[in-house]
């Protein structure tokens, strides 16, 4: 966590470590309010309880991936937009072909940190956990927002009362991630 914090630029007035924790806490709250996670308290920490929803809705692995993605979703953010990076022919934009440049940078950063500091996370045979984290971070690119929302709207109509498959679960996770990322808009303004 100390390494993650060091990757966030304190000079960046918005996309800094505080924003990362804000998004992590919002993700946690959404999971608690959805009865996917129990609230945080001493009883839960000392005596683990069964999840309130069946695990085929959102699995514990996906919950953990959501939290990791929330912490790292803006890691190493330089404080400029994707459009700026592309227009200024930045090396980063060239590296990522002008597509979701910042989001790719965040994925790269958090992947490197996990590989070094928590390698067990990426230790599955099919790389599922890593794919999940990457997909969730890439979904925070607002340039893809409307395309993503169209997919989510289609899914919403299809899954009412139905069991959902892994692809659909990943889409739900991405939606949770996006909601948490922009959740600061619904919080009380402290002036």
């Amino acid at each position: 966590m100390l390494t993650v914090r060091s990757c966030y630029q304190p000079t960046n007035h918005y996309h800094n470590f505080r924003h990362a924790i804000d998004v992590l806490q919002a993700t946690f709250q959404v999971l608690v309010q959805s009865n996917i996670l129990p609230p945080l308290n001493s009883t839960v920490l000392s005596n683990p309880i069964e999840p309130l929803l069946p695990t085929d809705y959102i699995s514990p692995v996906e919950v953990l991936a959501l939290c990791i993605a929330a912490v790292g979703h803006d890691a190493a953010h330089p404080g400029v937009t994707n459009a700026f990076l592309a227009a200024s022919s930045s090396s980063l934009a060239t590296l990522f072909n002008d597509r979701s440049v910042l989001e790719n940078l965040h994925c790269l950063t958090i992947s490197k940190i996990i590989e070094e500091r928590w390698p067990a996370l990426f230790d599955d045979e099919d790389g599922r956990f890593r794919k999940l984290v990457i997909e969730m971070i890439l979904s925070t690119d607002m340039a893809l927002h409307f395309e993503f929302m169209a997919r989510f709207e289609a899914l919403r109509g299809a899954i009412v009362g139905q069991p959902i498959d892994e692809k659909q679960r990943r889409l739900v996770c991405c939606c949770l991630m996006k909601s948490a990322d922009i959740s600061n808009l619904v919080f009380r303004l402290l002036v």
Binding site: M1, L2, T3, R5, S6, C7, F17, R18, H19, I21, D22, L24, Q25, A26, F28, Q29, V32, Q33, L37, L40, N41, S42, T43, V44, L45, P48, I49, P51, T55, S59, P60, V61, V63, L64, C67, I68, V71, A76, H77, P78, G79, L85, S88, S89, S90, S91, L92, L108, T109, K112, I113, E116, R117, W118, A120, L121, D123, F187, R188, L190
Partner: protein, 145 residues
């Protein structure tokens, strides 16, 4: 004498006609040449513009993960100071509160909050998350409410 004057005037008129002809044959300056000449005339402005872009690029690059990012030891002053059980419990209470603003807490408290959430997810995830658990060397001890 008159004959000579006629020859001279004829020669002058021919020269003028030739110059007019040559001028009429000059192709219009291509757009690229116009742009190139503008660049030559405004080299200074362009240099400043290019330099500014390069500086911005350099600044942006400096934020990107450096190759030695993970090899650098964490400075001693960055290590977390020991936290009391009571303080941990108060942080857990704040994390449980929907009305949460990270801007109100110190960076150290925020790190502890993140650890609390991850610990919570790992401890409530059952056997699926068993393989992801790592030892921190200590256990979080939160007093009962």
């Amino acid at each position: 004498m008159k004959h000579l004057q006629n020859r001279i005037s004829k020669g002058v008129s021919e020269t003028v006609a030739l110059q007019r002809y040559k001028k009429s044959r000059i192709a219009p300056q291509p757009r690229l040449d116009v742009f190139s000449s503008w660049i030559e005339d405004n080299t200074c402005i362009l240099s400043i513009f290019v330099l500014t872009i390069r500086i911005i690029d350099h600044v942006v690059q400096s934020y990107a993960p450096q190759p030695n990012l993970l090899r650098r030891p964490i400075p001693l002053e960055d290590y977390l100071t020991p936290i009391s059980s009571a303080h941990l419990a108060s942080l857990a209470e704040k994390v449980n509160n929907w009305d949460f603003h990270a801007g109100q807490y110190s960076l150290e408290d925020l790190i502890w909050m993140a650890i609390l959430i991850l610990e919570h997810v790992l401890s409530t995830g059952g056997p699926d998350l068993e393989k992801y658990k790592v030892s921190r060397g200590i256990s979080l001890n939160i007093p009962a409410n």
